[in-house]
Amino acid sequence: MKSEERRLKIEMGTVHMVCPSRSSPFALRSCFSVGALFLSFASTAFASAGTAIDRGVMTAAPAGKLEWLLFNLVAGGVVASVIGVCVSRNIVRMAVWLFICLGSVAMLYFMLAANFLGAIQLIVYAGGTLVLLIFGVMLTSKSPWVRWEAPLVEMIAAGVVCVTLLVSLWAVLLRTTWSGLESVSPGASLATIGEKLINVYLVPFEVAGVLLMIVMVGAAHLARQEE
């Protein structure tokens, strides 16, 4: 096993990273870049479609066979990346799978004609929050490849609970008939969202602003260097 370990030692002596060959940095890097490429291509396509809708070139989100195909593709991506998050032992790989998952969910928002929310999801969630998480991983482990595993009994118990919950939710959803589904909303323009945000939702909007400021000060205080 020793010979399988690949050592990357940078001659400066400041950075020292040891990783087992199963999670070689090359595989991780290629995984990252393929995911980022996929996401950027797909989000560009979806965003240009959204612009076309806003300008009246296209009428709505994709419909019919195209919608079916796109939904299956994107939903498959979501499910695969969720399974990836669940089964990865490596915390950095979990973050990569979360990145792909959040990007695919943003595409589902584009398909639901929520263009603004999809863009915000890509910027804030897949951009900001994920970078924060990766910084958290880098700062809280001696080596980012660290892995702690739960006991097998706990894994099995958690799996049973979650699969039971999923199956029962699925069964309930398939049997439910929703009333009032006769009209599909055509999607709202950004102006509608903005108007509603500072008319109807003014108080929550301001409270969210105050919350963000408190969080900024609090996080800087919590993570400060001791003098």
């Binding site: 919608e67 929310l117 959803l173 398939l174 599909v184 909303s185 509603k196 963000l212």
Partner: protein
Amino acid sequence: MTIGLTHYLVVAAVLFCGGLFTMMTKRNAVGILIGVELVLTSSILNFVAFDRYLGKGRVDGQITGLFIIVLAAAEAAIAVAICINVYKNLSTVDVDRATRLQG
């Protein structure tokens, strides 16, 4: 062949259960945070799907989703700061070994 509300709700259910499983089985505090993010994302997906299929041009579901994104970002910032602090004090973020407050 038509995609309806139920399809999106099933995807959200998968996201929720995956997040729950991640929260239950990971020992790394940052890993648990990733599970929380999955659960929050599933709730946003529910809000947006209902907004499209029940709302007649209303945008309340999308705005609620916007607020959830803000809350998730705030929660992630504070949680990562707490993780860094725990790591500075105990030099681990293993939630099973950070038991100093248990007395």
